[in-house]
């Protein structure tokens, strides 16, 4: 059985699993990290959105053999530790402020996508606009889209203030 080592939420982990198992199942079924959710398995619904080396990716569509020991995966469970201070990440706080979640199933993925989008747009030297928000593909079957849009704007401002 092949052995795979990578960084997960700030710790080095090693798993023994076949090469072609997608990272989502390594996280959920082997490591018991259940924040990233299954919603489709074909990189459409984005419920599993997490970060690899600070960028959004979908672990349902990456083989565990395709990442290396230095690759840093962050799931919703590790997001708060990527921000200053002891509390939640400002985007999580924004989600609470706008009471976004209904059933909550998609929200870990939504938050991870939002943080990555803010970083991406900021790297382009600008603020998020409506067209940027329209590019978010994450499905919310409870239909919380409008509150997600508002929360991202709040979260962006808080991130800019370094909260």
């Amino acid at each position: 059985m092949p052995s795979h080592t990578f960084q997960l939420n700030g710790e080095t982990v090693t798993v023994d699993v076949e090469d072609d198992v997608r990272i989502l199942w390594v996280l959920r079924d082997i490591l018991g990290v259940t924040g990233p959710k299954y919603g489709c398995g074909i990189n459409v619904c984005k419920a599993c959105t997490s970060h690899i080396n600070g960028k959004a990716f979908n672990p349902c569509s990456v083989r565990v053999a395709d990442i290396g020991p230095d690759d840093e995966i962050t799931t919703i469970e590790g997001l708060a530790d990527t921000a200053p201070g002891d509390g939640l990440h400002p985007m999580q706080e924004a989600w609470l402020e706008h009471d976004v979640a209904q059933c909550g199933y998609c929200q870990p993925g939504q938050i991870m996508a939002a943080v990555a989008l803010v970083h991406k747009v900021r790297a382009e030297g600008r603020a998020i606009n409506e067209a940027d928000l329209d590019t978010i593909r994450n499905v919310c079957r409870c239909g919380t889209y409008s509150r997600i849009r508002e929360a991202i704007k709040t979260g962006q401002d808080a991130m800019a203030r370094g909260l």
């Binding site: 959920r28 074909i42 395709d66 469970e77 009471d99 979640a101 199933y105 409870c142």
Partner: protein
């Protein structure tokens, strides 16, 4: 019916209720779940008003709850925290938050110190453990408050002894009871003293609405923090020992069944795979990871029976519905008739959390964990399938990742039970997404015919005939209706269950002379299609057809749609929400060509909703490109105004209206299942085209009106119908053409390449690292 609901035996006077302190070592306060001052006085029923004006679906659901003299109980622990196991299911609609608020209010405890969990199947509650019809808060409102008030009284009595004073002298606030001299005890300290050795009957009064400090104020969901940190546990997140991932290989045709597995030995040897076996609905595979289940499902070679609608397509079902429609009574009379026929296509009821459940069936016992809205029926049916007694089946209810009517049924729990029994091992069974639209429960397709007659500037008749594919109600309520049928108001007892539900829910709130709205299901068997009461059942389609026709009538009479509605509306509650929506949304403002406003109303769930939208149907908008996306007309702004009776949590009500709007909008514009040659083509979210960010209005506003009602109404479904209707009306006004098929893009060339039916699920991609951002 007349005396059925008068003075419940437990009710002593207008605001005084009886409950119990249950004997035991901790403080347990209980109330009869049947307590309700809210159901309508249902007799006598005049013939002219439609049934729901006097007795609606929620009265029926509430009455179903009444005869069960069973208790719900609140326990106060040594820390002074209150615990309540809610015999309903939280699926995102916010009932755990609202119930926590009710308990906190009556018990004078911070909401954070109230812990609401979901009760496992309690067969003794009979049919009083069904989550549906937006009825939870309506039916729980009184019993939950009574139990909390009894707990508070017991705590005060105990504190009086501890503090050497009388209960009347004490003040309870925030979980602390204080005496006039400044001495105090916590609820935790009082709770131990308040426990009674034997059960005692207690009489309490409830707080007046005017005394409410928690109820009626916006409150964040109690599970919000768990949701945003990834800590909220859904069924597939539970760690049940040895319950390994399990998936099912399904037939290429809808409801096809397996005959034989042709390569079982080969698949059993695949990496990670532990078991392969036939179950009634397909071939189940158990493996170390779900990824390996997907690989095994794809590798299986299975011989299948054909399905239940083999060779049939949407056009065949439409023809069937039209042929079976109940005839209109009023003949078509030249210039005085306004006719319309509307087709509503199948749409998937799937939640984002797929159908899933954990089952451990071994040694003549079964334990199930799942998001189940009818756990008692699930327990009975699973026991029956396994050849066990219901008492040998434990059904644990887990919070669900959405429901929308889907989780009224227990399809995955039953499959998990079959698979676990076949394997002799626990399973964590989950549907693949591709199976959800293809084999999962759908909203039944329907054709709605409307004819209105206008003479001398007035509407004389309004008839609607709604022919629907059979909607499956076999999740428990049906038997209840049979039991209650003699007690129902005039005219309901001869109807089928679906017809009764339709009759109880459907209300045309206009003075249109002779009004009849009738449902029929030409083929009543529920095993051809897998249907369920998808959010708001028939109402969104019925309202879309009727509100489009209301706009046509206004046009014929050369009146403004809002002014026309206002002059014909019967109910002041509806007029109020309509006027407020028109005001907030600046109805009638000048709009560029190709864009328009639309407005619609709906009355149900003991309240009313009005929705105003603005839609952009200009080519540059309709043809905007987003990768693999259905764009089309864009709703740019939405205003929802709702009167939902007494409001427990305004933030929760607004959330439900937002969700209802997202549902209604896509049902009008983009969201459907295409039935072609015996199976549905859609196999992913991109195929089905539920609302996404690129469809979401730039502006969304919801106002929850202060209600004149003293009882809460239903919330979870109340936003869907008027939203769908308003979007349809706006589209008609923007394009000048009244849409008659829903969603409006149904006959456009398919926006996706159909995924194969064999294998039944697609392979997971491997190029995820090429799409990071």
């Amino acid at each position: 019916m007349g005396t059925h609901n008068s003075e419940s035996p437990a009710r002593v006077s207008r605001r005084s209720f009886v409950g119990y302190v249950i004997g035991g070592t901790t403080l347990i306060a209980a109330a009869d779940l049947g307590l309700t001052p809210s159901a309508a006085q249902a007799a006598p029923i005049p013939s002219v008003p439609q049934v729901p004006e006097l007795y609606d679906l929620n009265d029926f659901l509430t009455h179903c709850a009444m005869p069960t003299s069973n208790l719900i109980a609140i326990e106060v622990d040594e820390k002074g925290h209150a615990h309540f196991a809610l015999p309903r299911m939280e699926v995102g609609q916010g009932i755990t938050t609202a119930v926590s608020m009710l308990i906190a209010e009556e018990l004078d405890l911070p909401v954070d110190d109230v812990h609401v969990t979901l009760a496992p199947a309690r067969p003794e509650l009979l049919f009083n453990q069904l989550t549906g019809g937006s009825n939870t808060i309506i039916s729980m409102y009184t019993p939950v408050r009574v139990a909390a008030a009894i707990a508070r009284k017991a705590l005060l009595d105990a504190a009086a002894i501890l503090l050497g004073t009388t209960a009347a002298q004490l003040v309870a606030k925030g979980g602390v009871i204080s005496a006039p001299g400044g001495s105090s005890v916590t609820y935790g300290e009082a709770a131990a003293k308040a426990a009674k050795p034997t059960t005692e009957k207690v009489e309490v009064k409830l707080k007046e609405t005017s005394e409410h400090a928690v109820v009626g104020k916006p409150h964040r969901r109690v599970d919000a923090r768990a949701a945003v940190t990834g800590k909220k546990k859904f069924a597939m997140d539970l760690d049940v020992p040895d319950a390994l991932p399990t998936m099912v290989c399904r037939a290429p045709e809808l409801n096809g069944t397996p005959v034989s597995i042709d390569n079982k030995g080969d698949v059993e040897k695949m990496p990670g795979v532990t078991h392969v076996a036939m179950i009634p609905t397909g071939v189940a595979v158990r493996a170390k990871t779900f990824g390996q289940c997907i690989d095994a499902v794809r590798a299986l070679e299975v011989t299948w029976n054909s399905g239940t609608v083999t060779t049939m397509s949407a056009k065949d079902i439409k023809a069937e519905l039209k042929a079976g429609q109940i005839p209109l009574a009023v003949p078509k009379v030249g210039a005085t008739s306004v006719d319309g026929e509307f087709t509503f296509h199948f749409r998937s009821g799937s939640a984002l959390e797929p159908n899933c459940a954990i089952a451990d069936v071994r040694d003549g016992k079964a334990t199930i964990w799942g998001g189940l809205k009818s756990p008692i029926t699930a327990q009975e049916k699973i026991a029956d399938a396994l050849g066990l007694l219901p008492t040998d089946v434990t059904v644990n209810v887990v919070q669900g990742g959405g429901s929308f009517g889907r989780k009224l049924f227990f399809d995955a729990a039953l499959e998990a039970a079959h698979a676990s029994k076949a394997f002799g091992a626990p399973v964590k069974l989950m549907w693949h997404r591709a199976d959800e639209p293809r084999q999962g429960r759908v909203h039944p397709m329907a054709v709605s015919q409307v004819r209105a007659t206008v003479l001398a500037g007035s509407v004389l008749t309004f008839e609607q005939r709604h022919a629907s594919v059979a909607c499956d109600f076999t999740h428990g309520l049906g038997e209840r209706l049979t039991a209650e049928v003699a007690a129902l108001p005039t005219g309901l007892s001869n109807l089928s269950f679906s017809e009764s539900i339709f009759m109880l829910a459907t209300e045309m709130p206009y003075n249109f002379g002779v009004v009849t709205q009738l449902l029929n299901e030409p083929k009543p068997a529920v095993d051809r299609f897998n249907t369920s009461s998808v959010r708001n059942i028939y109402s969104p389609d019925v309202a879309t057809a009727s509100e489009l026709m209301v706009d046509q009538l206004a046009k014929k009479l050369k009146q403004d749609p809002v002014a026309f509605r206002r002059s014909y509306l019967k109910s002041d509650v509806v007029k109020r929400v309509l006027d407020r929506a028109a005001e907030l949304g600046d109805w009638g403002r000048s709009m560029p060509a190709g864009t328009a406003q639309g407005i619609a109303i709906h009355k149900e769930y003991k309240g009313a909703t009005a929705v105003l939208v603005e839609i952009d149907c200009r080519p540059e908008t309709v043809n905007r490109e987003v990768r693999n996306a259905v764009t089309g007309p864009r709703v740019t702004k939405a205003v929802v105004v709702a009167d939902v009776g007494l409001v427990i949590n305004p933030a929760g009500v607004k959330a439900q209206m937002m969700g209802g709007f997202s549902d209604g909008m896509c049902q009008a514009l983009t969201y459907s299942n295409h039935l072609v040659d015996g199976h549905f083509l859609e196999a992913s979210w991109d195929n089905s085209a539920y609302t996404r960010q690129w469809n979401t209005p730039f502006e969304f506003e919801c106002e929850v009106m202060e209600s004149h009602g003293s009882q809460p109404g239903g919330v979870g479904e109340a936003g869907v119908a008027a939203s769908m209707a308003a979007v349809a009306c706006a589209y008609a006004r923007a394009t000048g053409e009244m849409p008659t098929e829903f969603p409006i893009n149904f006959h456009k060339p398919l926006h996706f390449e159909t995924k194969p039916f064999i294998p039944s699920v697609p392979e997971s991609p491997t190029d995820g690292l090429a799409h990071t951002y």
